[in-house]
Structure formats: C-alpha cells, structure tokens
Amino acid sequence: MFKRILIANRGEIAVRIIRACRELGIESVAVFSDVDRKALHVRKADYAYHIGPATASESYLNIDKILEAARRSGAEAIHPGYGFLSENANFARACRDAGIKFIGPSPESMEMMGSKTRARQNMKRAGVPFVPGSERGLELDDMERLAEQVGYPVMLKAAAGGGGKGMRLVSSPAELHSAYENARSEAQRSFGDNEVYIEKFIANPRHVEMQIFGDEQGNVVYLGERECSVQRRHQKVLEESPSPIVDEDMRRRMGEIAVRVGKAAGYYNAGTVEFLVDRERNFYFLEMNTRLQVEHPVTEFVTGLDLVHLQFHVATGQPLPFKQEDIQLRGHAIECRIYAEDPDNNYFPSPGKITRLISPSGPGIRRDSGMYEGWSVPIEYDPLLAKLVGYGEDREQAINRLLRALYEYFVGGIKTNTSLFRRILKDPDFRAGNIDTGFLDRLLTKPNNETDPRRPIIAAMGAAIFASAEAQATLPGTTVAVSTNGKAAPPPPISGWKRMAREEAVRER
C-alpha cells in the first residue's frame, strides 16, 4: 500500500479521502489556498502545503503547484477527488510523467470519455444504446439541419461539459441561434472548449447512473445504480440507491452495458456510467464520469464496501478483491447535499461564518462534512458543505431517518438548504418514487406550508426570555439591539443567565 498520498482537493471530499488514508495507515497530504488555511481538510491531514491564492486556477487547478507539493511532501500517489483536476487527462499524464500514481483511470480512458462526442463513437461500437443526436460538435447550420431531423425539442450540450454547464434546451428553430451562441460561450468559459453537440430532448426523463469499478488486470464489475433525478438547474441535489424503478433484471442489463462501456474504454478504478431513462424504462447512454462521484456514499451503504479504500487498492496494481457475484446489495440509502444557499432567497449562495453547528448522528446516519463551528465558508468555491446520508431496511425507513436527522441538523450564521430536503422527503410523489428530472422544479412551484400556528407565539416568547435574561445584566428595560453586533458571534451568556443558572443549581439540590 502507499505510504503517503496527496489529496488534490478541498472540502468534504478531501476530508473523506484523508479519513480513508488514516484508516489504512497511509499518511495524508493536504493542499490549501490562502482562504483555506483553516479548512477542515487541513486540520485533519498529516501534512499540509500552501499552493497559492484563492482563485482555483492559481491553486487547486494548478497542475505545477500540486505536483510541486507532491514532490516536496514525498507523496507516492495523488487522489484528485471530484471536480477540479479529477477529470483532467493532462493532469493524470503529468502525474505519470512525474512518477506519481494518479488514483483514477488512465489519461487515455479519460480522454476517450472526456469528449462526449468521441465517447459516443466508441460506445456505439460497443453496442451501447444512445439518444438520437449528433456524433460530435456541429456548426450552426449542420445543427439546424439535424435538429429538424430528430425533431424539437432538442438539447445542446458542451462536448467537454458536465454538471449542466453549457447546456441549453431548445424547443423551436427560432431559439436555436441564440441558444447555440450562449452554450458555446458558457462552454468556453467553463471548460476552455466551445465544442457543442445536439441531442433529441426526452421529456421528464429519469437520470440513473451505474457505478462501475475496474482493476488494471482488466476486470470490471458494477456495484448497483444510483437514481439522481432530483435536480435543480441540472445540478444533482439528492441521490439514492437503489432506484425506485430499477428491478433486478433491469439492474443486470444496465450493469452489463456499463461494464461493456468500461471495458471499451480500457477503464480501471472507480467510474460512473450515466443513463437517461424514459417513461417506458428504456435507458440511453448519457456520459461517463471518470472519477469518484459526490454521491458514492449511497453505493457504499447498500454494498457495504468502501470505494475509496478500493481505489487505493486497485491503484497499487492489485486485482479487485471480489467478483461480480460476490456483491451483496442490501437496504436503501439516500444522500442529501447540504449547500450554503438560501432557500428563501432563490437559493442564493450564503457564505460566511458558521456561528453554531449542531450535527445529527445515530442509527443509519452518515455525515461527510467539510465544515465546523467557527469556520467561515469562503465565497470562492462550490457551496457544498456536507453530505447527509441515510440508510434504511427499505426506502421508507431511509427517508424517515433522514427527516429525523435533518430535524436535528442546525447550521447557524449562514443559510443552508436543509429545509429543501424536508420538502422533498415529505412530498407524496417523492415518497411514491414518482420522480424525474422535472420533479424538483415542479415541487418548488408548489406553496410551502410547513406551519404550526402556535410556533410564532413560542418564537416570540423565546425571544423575550432571551432578551429579558440578558437585559438584566445591562440597564433594565432596554432591549436587545438586533441591528448591532450582527456580524460578530452573539455575546456570551451574561449575568441574567448566570443568575438563572444559579437558581437552577439551588433548585437541583
């Protein structure tokens, strides 16, 4: 096994990988930008190296700086996490050239899969089903012709893309031109590559993906699917495994195709094959993600495996320690992505200082978090703070445990989207498994009435008791100045409380 591994990432995924290192007796090396000196991944690592300013391109996306940190730390391998350099074949190649093991697939597999159009060609040869559309990036006029051919609505997608960037839905020829320009410029901004291709648009599909795992001996297995249809602006918000609509037979067929995709790409380490599923449960190859997914914990819960341990294992060149038939799926798991964003304000990002953090635990609850009380969420990066994952004997128990855990979760000082998950998990359609990629947008248009008429009165009383207990330390009759002191943490409990505490102490004897 490796002696020392550098994690070229930040936040919850860096923490999760550092934990895996500690579990296996591997020394972990963190890297951090100026604004991440106090980040949790730096606190938890055995080594930490500063790699530059907040701007990702000058730190977490900077290949030279990361390799320099790896050399200085003597790391034998690098885990890229997700995002940042995780799907950058040049980085994987640079690691190889530097004699450092990149924990992931070969740069060749990444390149083949990285460009959606090339992936498409290879997969077609492997007999993988596709949504009708263009094989590769098109100029506007070709695109107009093909759009007419497959029929509107159509979807424009960035060839180098992912996570919804550079995607545009076009429902009529009139919109195609501007959509095409926007998609190209956004693709250029996001990926430095403005190649855009076209696909027939499938109304309200499900997004189901299959986890695969390969070793360098050429063995590839599938570890069950994940349902990722609950999305906002093409961003996954909640994922689960198994999918409510996938039965054993469909799982086997989808899994075998995913394995074929992996083998066609000479794939090893962890990968995910994404499919679109239509109402008739036909599925079409969407894309392959050549990295560990954000949502890998739901697969870990239902398989009982640790995918990061497994990544380390195969990266050392050893074969997979099990065969397809050894995989035992059991129970149901659901992941909620806790973001620093304000549900009451159009999900606007909400960075800042976490003044209070009360975290859930207990049966069936896993929490992968990158935050802690007193830490300030920087504005420069993705607002994912933590992942709350619930396991249950069945889907209903997993849902109920998550609702319980969300009830316990309190993040003070900033806004988070926890209330969104309460809405989702209580929604009758969701509970019945009736979800598709349009589900969340529909839900958010419904009025949100989580109200108990008595509560506002309790809130008023609580505010008065807080104020009264503290006022007694200052001038009687004055009130708490709400506007002042807002940015600082609230003042410590003062004599009003102290007296109250003393009284209780007396009472308790």
């Binding site: 620093a340 909400s350 960075p351 990066y381 993705d382 809130a459 008791i465 609230p490």
Partner: protein, 166 residues
C-alpha cells in the same frame, strides 16, 4: 419585562417575569407558565405544560435575529415598545421604494431591465454570479425601475445596492 416582538412581520405583545422556578409569560393576552433553561449557548429549552420546545437563536450575517424551533425558522425583531421601528418593520414590506441589494460579493453578469421600465413582482432584474452559480435577482413588487446602480461585468460587495424599484 415587556416587549413588542415582530415575528415574520406580525407583532406580538409579550410580558415575561421570572419566578422562583418558572417564568410567567403573557403573549397577546394569553397566560403561560414556562420552565425555561439555557442548555447551551443560544439554545433555550422551554417546557410548557409538558410540551417541550427547543429554541435556537441565530443572528445572520446581515444582523437579522432568527428563532429556530425544530425545523421552522422565524425572523424576529425585539422592540422597545416606545420605538417607532416596529411599524416600519411591519408595514415596510410592500410600500415605498425597494432597494435591490447584493446579499454577497459577486460579479454582475447581465442586467435585464433599464431605468424607467415597468416591472412586476418576481420579474428578473439582474443576473449575478457568485460561488460558481448564476443567480437572478427578482423584483420584490410590481413597480418601476427607479435606478440601476451597477453595470454588467462589475464586481460588487455584500450589501451594495444594485437597483431601486419604486
């Protein structure tokens, strides 16, 4: 002690008096005996006739005071009854000119309206990019774009006024 407390825009008149063991509370005329204990910083446990409530107090970056009960969050303003701010706080919501402020630092991507335009409640005004996400700032009311105080491509700080709707 006596307070006027605004909870989500509605005023409640609250009297609280600490007794030997319990607090006597009167909210909008309704009497209650309350067992109150501060369990941790900003965490208050109330027992009212056996029913338990945990109230978490939070001050947001913008300085608003919130009371969180279970999964419900309430914006609260504690008022000195003699002050006038209460009425504003309650009335303010819809009348008069409204400032569109940047809730956080970011970059202005697009401005969707021009000064003088009529806008309706919920209509998109300005697209801002922050934390890798584009967000549309919407009009809080039906009205008219009185002023645009920023430009496409400019960087803004939290609290900056970007536009005024009247």
């Amino acid at each position: 002690m006596t307070y006027d407390i605004v909870v989500d825009g509605k005023i409640h008149h609250v009297e609280v008096t600490r007794g030997e063991k319990l607090w006597s509370c009167r909210v909008d005329g309704q009497e209650m005996e309350v067992d109150a204990a501060l369990t941790a910083r900003d965490v208050l446990s109330l027992l009212i006739g056996g029913k338990a409530y945990e109230i978490k107090r939070e001050r947001s970056l913008q300085g608003e005071l919130h009371m969180v009960i279970g999964s419900a969050r309430y914006a609260v303003e504690v008022q000195d009854p003699r002050s006038l701010r209460t009425r504003r706080a309650v009335a303010g919501a819809d009348s008069g000119p409204q400032k569109i402020k940047a809730a956080m630092p970011g970059k202005i991507v697009r401005i969707l309206v021009a000064e003088g335009n009529e806008v309706s409640n919920g209509q998109g005004l300005i697209v801002m990019e922050a934390m890798k996400m584009q967000n549309e700032m919407k009009s809080p009311k039906d009205g008219k774009v009185h002023k645009i105080l920023t430009a496409e491509g400019s960087t803004v700080n939290a609290g900056d006024t970007l536009a005024i709707i009247e």
